[in-house]
């Protein structure tokens, strides 16, 4: 007779997730309790931030306790999971704070939106933990479905609705490919566990499966040529949701990508290495070059995000512990910078019907120096500029180091990375030039006074970036221990990098 009870081991392994879900369900009930008249969204959001904090505590506890995986190898309990969880929680908390501000202004969001964000977070946390394609797929869909809805969260906005539909259709389309890939991998290995797949010889089924799986993940991390949705969706979605997508969704997708690559796709490294190489190169180059011509800030940040996906792919390509650590560190910095940037963006885009362009920032420094400086720091962090851009430099540094120290040194890719970074300076600096070098227009709208939570997010991000920019060691240690459990199952073959 089979024991259908929830095994203790599973409970143990999923303590943070269970904490989160239970909290979320309570919040859901509570939010519908209040009724519509009292506009419970902001309160819900505050509670949601609390839940995130509690979950973070749970994650830290679980990490400190150690060994939280399951014995059947379907759930990981390694540092990578917890480190990524913390980054995701950070991103979500920040996005919630921004939502709080946004709601205070627009009153466009329903109380269920923070709940959906927490549920999406649940899916993301599953992505960092799962070592089974089935769990990964469900987590992936959980996250995706929630985010599709979130993209359309502003029901009064046609742009939001359009973003939602575009994201949904393309997401479903690409996850179709992905699930087909999973099917083929299952067919090749006879099991959905990554470890088993990673121990399978790379036959035709396996290879086609890898290819399709790659496509699905490449879509989510918005790698070229699967990136076209990104600017539209970032543009149309409400700013806090865009921040959420840019920071957390991308981080979760990369966590999934890295885990699958490392644990399951070792046998096919010869095949996917060159493909991913080209994807990374194209992503960096096209993302940055197209961003040059953007005037709409959100679209610009979208392309910038695409380019960053390219940099992160380089870390994945390093295929080493250092690469994993670099990825974690990078995502942490990227999350911070994204939150900071969107915090500012939210404040300055107040009063604009649809889009905020670079021209709207002209002379910002002259009227609101604090906002301008914060935004500049975040942009410089994206750029990877040392000191002034804070930890952004070290993020790039670790990637470079990992790429060069990889068993197949990615010298050419490093050069592509570096050169495309220079291109990226072209648009980051244009924004900075607009803010600092131009006078404030006569008719320009004065930005609203900075709301408390936005200020907290902004200041915290900037300070964290700057401090880590001088002394990155704590974060680097976290990233390093966050990558320990993630050594490649199969030693990378000396693959032919183009």
């Amino acid at each position: 007779m089979t024991d259908f009870a929830l095994p203790g081991e599973l409970l143990h392994a999923l303590l943070p997730e269970i904490t989160l879900v239970v909290g979320t369900l309570i919040l859901l009930l509570a939010s519908s309790w209040g009724g519509e008249a009292s506009s419970p969204t902001r309160r819900t959001t505050q509670f949601a931030i609390g839940i995130v904090a509690v979950t973070a505590a749970a994650v830290i506890m679980a990490w400190m306790r150690g060994g939280g995986g399951t014995s059947d190898g379907r759930l990981a309990g390694d540092g990578f999971r917890y480190a990524m969880d913390l980054i995701l929680l950070l991103g979500t908390a920040g996005a919630l704070a921004l939502l709080h501000t946004e709601q205070g202004r627009t009153r466009a969001y329903q109380a269920e939106i923070p709940v959906l964000m927490l549920l999406a977070l649940c899916g993301m946390m599953l992505l960092t933990a799962a070592r089974d394609l089935m769990f990964l797929f469900i987590g992936f869909e959980l996250m995706s479905l929630a985010v599709y809805v979130l993209a359309g969260a502003n029901r009064s906005s046609a742009r939001s609705a359009e973003a939602s539909l575009k994201y949904f259709l393309l997401g479903a389309f690409s996850s179709g490919f992905m699930v087909y890939g999973i099917a083929l991998l299952y067919g090749a290995a006879g099991d959905t566990r990554l470890a088993v797949i990673g121990a399978t010889a790379a036959g035709p089924l396996y290879l086609v499966g890898v290819a399709l799986l790659l496509v699905g993940m490449a879509f989510k991390v918005s790698a070229v040529p699967f990136h076209l949705w990104t600017p539209d969706v970032y543009d149309g979605s409400p700013a806090p949701i865009t921040a959420f997508m840019a920071a957390s969704v991308k981080a979760a997708a990369f966590a999934m990508l890295l885990r699958i690559m490392t644990e399951a796709l070792g046998p096919a490294i010869d095949h996917w290495h060159s493909v991913l190489w080209w994807l990374a190169a194209a992503t960096m180059v096209i993302g940055n070059i197209v961003a040059l011509s953007q005037r709409n800030l959100k679209r610009m940040l979208a392309y910038s995000g695409i380019a960053h996906a390219g940099y992160l792919l380089v870390a994945v390509l390093a295929y080493s512990t250092e690469g994993a650590a670099a990825l974690v560190f990078y995502l942490l910095v990227y999350t911070l910078a994204t939150l900071g940037a969107f915090a500012v963006l939210g404040i300055v885009s107040e009063g604009f019907e649809s889009v905020t362009t670079i021209d709207d920032l002209a002379g910002l420094w002259h009227v609101r120096p604090g906002l301008a400086i914060a935004f500049a720091v975040c942009l410089l962090a994206f750029l990877g500029f040392p000191v002034a851009g804070g930890a952004g430099f070290f993020a790039k540094w670790y990637v470079l180091q990992a790429a060069l120290a990889s068993s197949t040194p990615l010298s050419v890719l490093v050069v592509v990375l570096v050169v495309s970074s220079v291109v990226s300076a072209g648009y980051y600096l244009t924004v900075i030039a607009a803010m600092f070098n131009q006078p404030r227009g006569e008719t320009a709208v004065m930005p609203v006074p900075t709301p408390t939570l936005s200020a907290v997010v902004m200041v915290a991000s900037v300070v964290a970036l700057l401090v880590l920019g001088v002394y990155p060691t704590p974060a680097a240690r976290l990233a390093a221990s966050g990558s320990l459990g993630l050594s490649p199952v199969v030693a990378p073959v000396t693959a032919a990098a183009p």
Binding site: Q110, I138, V149
Partner: protein, 169 residues
């Protein structure tokens, strides 16, 4: 494996493919949806032949019976019953191109044929087809099962958030 079995197999296969082709070429959303239902029925037949009667049943009940009904319902709700003034299909050149892409895709996918698959016995195993699924579902994949509840919760909340009529402040 009996020839009849084999005949049936290919019959369902051809049915599925044919219905799918008709599905993608129909202009009317409703007829397209119905052809899709047809595909699903054919597939359900194939499932049965592939020793998956439970899945076949779920396919008919959930997929054809529930999901597709929702589709048709929405089509009707949005008053799309008749073909739009604008043709739903894209231009001929796009269609030809898409066909080519489809063929190329298929050619690539058929690389899987290089894999030597084990020959398995196709004698229908009548006994106890649901139990192994259930056991698997509630032991190894228990977590997945639980997660689907959250997934459905998301779907519900999502649908409510998006589709509920509400006076927006």
């Amino acid at each position: 494996m009996t020839p009849f079995y084999r005949f049936q197999f290919y019959l369902f296969a051809l049915m599925a493919i044919g219905a799918a082709l008709l599905f993608v070429t129909r202009k009317s959303p409703v007829s397209a949806a119905l052809w899709l239902v047809n595909v699903m029925f054919a597939l359900s037949g194939l499932y049965v032949m592939l020793d998956a009667p439970f899945v076949a049943a779920v396919q008919v009940l959930v997929y054809a019976g529930a999901i597709m009904v929702v589709f048709v319902f929405v089509v009707m709700l949005l008053n799309l019953g008749r073909p739009n003034a604008l043709p739903d299909l894209r231009e001929v050149s796009v269609r030809i191109g898409a066909g080519l892409v489809g063929v190329a895709l298929l050619a690539n996918l058929l690389a899987v044929r290089r894999e030597t698959l084990p020959s398995v016995d196709f004698a229908p195993a009548v006994d106890n087809v649901v139990t192994p699924v259930a056991e698997s579902l509630f032991t190894d994949y228990l977590l997945a099962f639980e997660l689907t509840s959250i997934l459905l919760l998301v779907a519900i909340i999502g649908a409510v958030v998006l589709a509920k009529r509400r006076a927006v402040a």
